[in-house]
Every structure is written in structure tokens, then in C-alpha cells.
Symmetry: C2
Subunit: 268 residues, 2 copies
């Protein structure tokens, strides 16, 4: 998906919501477990109910891989079910030496019809570049994440001789691609850093996880990190998809997505 089309979708719907499909059979409504493919049955219902309130879906590949072949099949069916109006993210956190990253890029951007894939930057330039070679496809590189470990490790926040590590990572990675094929993951719980981040990369889209179950504030993110193109995809997973365990789960998820979208509309 090209950037201009994504921005048009956001402007038309007045929403920059991404719904995260971290689908776990232990957490979905029990009545679905009787279906032949409970994961896909759940996703299909969630997608149908949330479609008009969001502009993107993020599939967390770990939740599919943990079910082996059946999980991979459910992921394939899910990404193929999402219409082309919506930006499709493989939240896969891949990254390896060049020839291996090329294989991952093929897996998600060619073999599967994702628009984008999340990338861990630890192995540097040749591990990221293979993901930037596909017209209309995106690499979304980890910048500053929202999990406890990001701080515990003191890695992303580490002070180098010049700047903190995440600043160096983001500044450097930004030179490898353009605002048309590169986004950054920035955790919602790090809103104190958003203004600083926008100085480094004013024009890139940010994929922002951490709203909802992880406690990030949608208001703060929107105030501090929005740019002239909106420039935000804010992901909510558990707080939307697991609103109810009853037969009304999809409707309840749709209602919750609408609440987020309504809040977003007020910031646009």
C-alpha cells in the first residue's frame, strides 16, 4: 500500500486505529473452539465487526506459529481475508544477515500479501535493506519499545558517546529508506520521548503499540506525535479483541473499536 492511499484512508475514516490480532485459543469465546478453525473463525468475526473503525490490522505471528502448521494456515487465511483497503502488518520482529532477511521478506511481502513487517535492528543495515526492495511495501523497524525489558536492559535507553542508543538507531535506520517504505515502532508508554522522536524523524509514520492492556495514553501520543500526514498507526490488541467471551464478542469488539476511533476523531 502506498503512503498516499494510507493517508487518504485515515482522513476518510477519521481513524488511525490498528487492530492487533494476537489471537489465543485460550482467550477466545469457548463456543468457537467447536469450529474447524477457531482462530480464523474468531479473526473473521473480529475483522467484520471492526473494519469500518480501523485502517490497519496487525497479525502477531508468534500466536500463529505456536500452533504449527494449523496456525500458519490460520494466519494465511486471515491475511487473505483482510480487504485491500486496510494496511496489513506482519508483527514478526524479524532480521538476520542479508540472504536470510531476503527470505523473510519473500515470506511476508510476497508469499503472504502483507503490506509491511516489523524488524529488529540489532544486526544492522544488511539485515534491514532486503525488506525495502518491494514497491508499496514497508519495513517497520523497532525504535523504542514499550515493554519493561526496554528499560530493564537499559539498552534502548543506553547513553552512547553522543546520544542514546534508540536515537542513534532511528537516525541511522532513517537513512536506509524513505518515508514511503520505512516506519518505526515506538511504544505508547514512552510518550515522554515522542517530542524528541519527532525532531529526529518528523515525517515518518510511527506504529504505536502499548495502548490498552499496556497502559499507554492515546491522548498524549496524539498530541505529541501526530504530524501533517497524521503519521500514526495506533495499535490496540487485547483491549479490543477480548472485550467479551460470549456470543456477542464481535459486536463488543466493534463497539470498543468505535470508541477508540471516536476518541481519535476528536484529535484530528
Amino acid at each position: 500500500m502506498r503512503k498516499q492511499f494510507l493517508i487518504e484512508q485515515i482522513r476518510t475514516k477519521k481513524s488511525y486505529l490498528c487492530v492487533g490480532l494476537d489471537t489465543d485459543p485460550a482467550l477466545i469465546p469457548p463456543h468457537l473452539l467447536e469450529q474447524e478453525d477457531p482462530i480464523f473463525a474468531f479473526n473473521k468475526a473480529i475483522i467484520d465487526a471492526t473494519l469500518e473503525h480501523c485502517v490497519a490490522y496487525k497479525i502477531n505471528t508468534a500466536f500463529y506459529e505456536s500452533h504449527g502448521l494449523e496456525g500458519w494456515r490460520a494466519m494465511e487465511k486471515t491475511v487473505n481475508y483482510i480487504p485491500t483497503t486496510h494496511f496489513k502488518i506482519a508483527d514478526a520482529k524479524r532480521g538476520d544477515i542479508g540472504n536470510t532477511s531476503t527470505q523473510y521478506a519473500k515470506a511476508f511481502l510476497q508469499q503472504l500479501p502483507f503490506d509491511s513487517i516489523t524488524i529488529a535492528p540489532y544486526m544492522g543495515e544488511d539485515s534491514v535493506k532486503p525488506f525495502l526492495q518491494f514497491e508499496g511495501k514497508w519495513a517497520i523497524v523497532l525504535g523504542l519499545t514499550s515493554n519493561p525489558g526496554a528499560a530493564d536492559f537499559e539498552l534502548q535507553d543506553l547513553k552512547t558517546e553522543s546520544k542514546r542508543l534508540y536515537e542513534l538507531v532511528i537516525s541511522k535506520v532513517a537513512t536506509w529508506g524513505t518515508t514511503d517504505n520505512l516506519m518505526f515502532v515506538v511504544g505508547a508508554t514512552r510518550s515522554d520521548e515522542f517530542i524528541n522522536l519527532r525532531k529526529l524523524v518528523p515525517n515518518h509514520f510511527f506504529l504505536v503499540p502499548g495502548v490498552g492492556a499496556q497502559g499507554g495514553s492515546l491522548e498524549e501520543i496524539s498530541q505529541k506525535a501526530m504530524n501533517k500526514d497524521v503519521g500514526l498507526l495506533v495499535n490496540v490488541s487485547r483491549d479490543i479483541i477480548y472485550t467479551s467471551k460470549d456470543t456477542d464478542f464481535a459486536q463488543k469488539a466493534g463497539d470498543k473499536a468505535l470508541q477508540y476511533a471516536t476518541q481519535m476523531r476528536s484529535y484530528l
Copy 2:
């Protein structure tokens, strides 16, 4: 696999060779493409021919994911075909927030019978710990890799206020596990750093890629990084598995594996 058993295998076979199954249909002997599952047919023949010369196999998951469901099935068949005498590595470079890493750990250490999985450390402690919760299973964390990007990025080599980033990563990660459930990836092309690394983590196993196609020296690694338990698994992928494109490919791969093992024997 427990550490003591792995060490016994190394001592008995006088080899610390790991064969990397980066299986690419474009590079395997053309006559195999007529088979129902060319990737597995190739792997099975390679495993049969190299089994007695190596102690471990490393499956590079990217090469399987790039073929979707069929690739995943070939990976499943391959890991199930490797006997329990051999240490099985999922070279998957995973790592995400805690609940997601738990799913990846299930995928590779429970759903699939791997002994270990490679991990990218960028997201810190809660992204690594879920992989350390399985008796007899291992996390192999990226320390200092051998690819050009590791230097281009100047990330792993970055000078922090106290030490270089990779030193900090390795020292910190070492506190999260033990020498019985944690190894480090250290690229063969970084042999200048091996002596320094052994000061930081004298007793951990290193998984060393980068010998063969990437140009690392087996002799230097062995001289500088071996410890009292040997402490090394040296991986060779392309230089062994793609020795011939003819019907004798497996025999040629076996011969090449034997050459490496013979060289290793002289260092033990």
C-alpha cells in the same frame, strides 16, 4: 538436551560441527525438484550423510517460511527426522514482549522439538526470559554477529559510557540464565574479539556462524574461544550442503563435513 550430554557427544565424536540447513530450492540439485517435497528430500539426504561428523543441526527458519505452509511442513518433517543424539537449533532470531516471546517459545521448544532457538536481544529481559523456562532447552542470544551490518551500523560495536554495546549485552544477558540454558551467537569473522569475549563469559557455549561462505577461520576460533568443555558449536551451512548439484550431492556434503570434523579433531 542437557549440557552434559552435549559435551559427551562432542568428546565422543571429536567434533563440534553444526550443519546449517539453509535449504533453498534454487540451489539444491535440480533432480530433487521432481520429488513431492524437495526441501525435505534434500535435508534427509544431507542429514543421513553428515550425521556421524556433526553434533548439531541448525535450521534457518527464514528459508522455510518463505515457502509458506509447504515450507513450514518441510521444517516440521526435518526437525522430527533429526535424531535425539543431535542438538537441534531453530535459527529464528525471535524476541518480543513477554507474552509474545512465550508464544514463540511454545512454537519452537514445545510444538516443534527443537533444543534451542536463537534470540535477538534488542527488547531486553522480558523478551528473553520466556525462552529459559524449559528444562533442557536453550536460548542462544545474539552477541556479536558476523555480517557486514554489524559493523556498518556501528551498533554492536558502539562505545557506551563504560563498554561497547555487545559487551554490555553479553554481560547483562548472562545474568538472566545459566550456562545450562543460555548460549551466545558470536560470528566467526570477529575472531579478534574472542579472547575478550571469553573473559566476559568463560563458561558459556558459543554458537559460531560465519565459517565457510562468510570467510571466518576455524583455526582462529578454536584457538581463541575453546574452553574446558570445548564450549563451541561451529556452524557451516552453504560450504557443506551445496558442495555438489549432482546426484552425488549428499556424499559430497558428507565428505566436506568429515573434512571439517577432521580439522576440529586436531584442535581438541
